[in-house]
Amino acid sequence: MTKDRSLALAVGIFIVIMYVESMQIAEKSSWQVYGSAFYPRILLAIMGALAVLLFINSFRNKKPSTSEKNIKDLKSFWTEYNKIIFLFIAFFVYVFILPIAGFIIATALYLFISQAILMGVKRKKKLLLNVSVTVITTMSVFVIFNYGLNVWLP
C-alpha cells in the first residue's frame, strides 16, 4: 500500500460520502440555471477522475515507499511520531477545557505540557525555562488581547 494509493482511496471515500450528502441539497428552483448541488458535484467528479489517475499511477512507480516499513516496525514508528501524537492530543484537550477552565488556566496548562513533551522535565534548568515561558506568554497574550485589542477571551 503506497502513500499515493491510500490517498486515492481516501479521496474516493470522501467523494462517496459527499455525493450521498449532496442528495440533501434542495432541488433546482425555477429561477436557477442549475441546481445548488450541480457545482459541488462537478468538483467531486473532477477529484474522482484525478484520484483514479493517481491510483493507476501508483502501480507504475515500483519504488518501495518508506511508509511500508513503518507498518512492520511499530517501534520506530512510535519513536518518530510519539511527540507529534502527544502534541495533537494536548491541543485537543486544550480546546476541550478552554471554555470550561477559562483562558489563563487552560493556556498555562497547555503550554507547560506541550513544552514538557518537547524538551522533557528532567533537568531543573529546562523546567525553570518552561515555567517562566509559560507564565510570561500566558499573561502577556491575555493582557494584549483583553486590554489592548478588546478581544474577550474565555
Binding site: A26, Y34, M47, L87, Q115, V151
Partner: protein, 511 residues
Amino acid sequence: MGEFFIQALGEVLNLWTLVLITIGVIFGIVGGCIPGFTITMAILVAFPFTFAMDPINGLSLMVGIFVGGYSGGLISGVMLGIPGTPSSITTVYDGYPMAQKGEPGRALGVGVLASFIGTIISVGVLVIFGPLIAKFSLNFRPWEITAMIVFTLTLVASLSNGAMIKGLIAAGFGLFIATIGLDRSGNLRFDFGINEFSAGFEMLPVMIGIFAFAQLMDNVQKLNKEKEKNTKEPDMNVHIPYRQIGKDLWSQKMNTFRSAMIGSIIGALPGTGGSVANFVSYDQSKKFSKHPEKYGKGIPDGIIASETANNAVAGGAFIPTLALGIPGDLVMAIMMGVLILHGITPGPLMFSEHPVLIGAIYVGLLVSAVIMLAAQFLLIRVFAKISLVPQAILVPIVLMLCAVGAFALNNTVFDIWVLFGFGLIGYFLSKAKVPLTPLILGVVLGHNLENQIFRALELDSSWLTFFTRPLSLLFFVFALLSIIVSIKQNKRAAQTEGGGIVGDETDQKIS
C-alpha cells in the same frame, strides 16, 4: 495619482501606524530569521491582532511583517549556514562562506542593503504596473475571471514538483471546502445537520489549520532527527563595514537591478514567490558574471542577487492580488483575507473605490523598507541571538496563538475546532506529500469561482461562450499548457532519477 498618494502619506505617517509598521518589521525579521518559522507563519500569527484595527493600520502591520520577513532569512543563513526561510537558500551559498572567512558583518550588511534596494525597486514596479493591469482587467467579464482562476489553480498545482495530480486534487478539495454552508441561492449544502456548519467555515481557521500544523509538526520531527547535530553558538560580535558594503553594492549596479526585476516579475506570477525568485536570480547573476567560478565561495555578488530578488517579490506579489483579486501565494492569500475581513474586495475596482488604501500599501512598503534597514543595522546582533530559539518553546506558543486567533474571529470555540480539524487534515495530507498551497488557494478563491461561473451562465446559458471569448480561451489554453508542461517535465525527471522526485522540494514552495 499624486493626490491620493499624498492623502495616503498622511494616513500612514502618524505615530500609531508607524509604531505598528515598526512592530511588524521587527516581528517579520524575527519570523524570517528563525529557521522553520517562515514568513507565512509570521503573518498568520499576526493576523488576529489586526481584527480590531482599521484597514490601513491592519495592512500596515502586515506589510511590515512581509518586508521584514523577506530580509530576516539572511541572518541565520549567514551566521548559522541555515536559511531562515526558503527565500534565502541561495544567500547561504555565498553569505556563509563569507562569514566563515571572517567577514560576517560585510555579508549581513550587503544582504540588508540589497534587500532594501530590492523592496524599493519592486514598489516602483508595483506603482507603474498595478494600475495598468487593473485598468486592463476592468474589461474582464465573468468568463475571463473564471478562466483566470482556473489558470491560477492549475499553474500552482503544476508547480508542485512532481506532484501535479495531487496538487490538482488539493485544489479541488479546497474549492469543495468553500461550498460548505449556504450557497448564493440560500440553499444549505453539506451541513450534515450540524448547525454551525450552515454558515460555512471561516477562511482563517481553515488556512491556519492546514498550514500551521503541517509546518510545525514537521519542525518537531526534524528536531527529533537532528538532535545529535548540536550547532555551535556562533560569534555574535558583528561589526558592519558601511563603506565597504556601499562599494560592494555600487560595483554591482546591474546585478542589483536585474535581480530586482527578476524578483518583481516572479513575485507577480501565481504559485511562485521568494523561494523561486532567489534561485532564478542567483542563477542568472552567475550566468551574466565575468567570474562565475567565484560564486559559492563567498563573494558579495551572490548575496546581492539572492537578497535583492527575494525582497523584490514583496512589490511584485501585490500586483495580481490588488489588480486582479487573485493572490499568487499563501502570504498574499492571507493579505487578501485581511482586506476581505475589513469589507474590502481586492480587484480592479479597488483602484477606483479605495485609492487611498492602495496608496497606503505603496507608502507602507516604502516606509517598511526604511524601517527594515534601520532595524537590521541597529539590532542585527539581537536578531542573530533570537534565531537560536528552540522549537520546543516555539511550537507550543505558535499553536496557542493560532487557537487564540481562530477564537478571536467570532468569539466562538467552534472556530478552534475547525482549526484543529483542518490541522489534522493538513498534517495527514502533508505526510502523503500533497502540496498544500493549491489547497489553500482553492479555499480562498472558491466562492469567487462559483459566483463567476454562474454569473456567466446566467448571462449566457451556453458553456461554449467560455471558449469563444478570446481572452477567456487564452487563459484556458494557458491552464492546459501548464498541465502538459508539468507532465512532460515529470516524465523527464522520472527517466533520469527513476521516479519519486517529490521529496523535500514540495516544502520549498512555501516562502
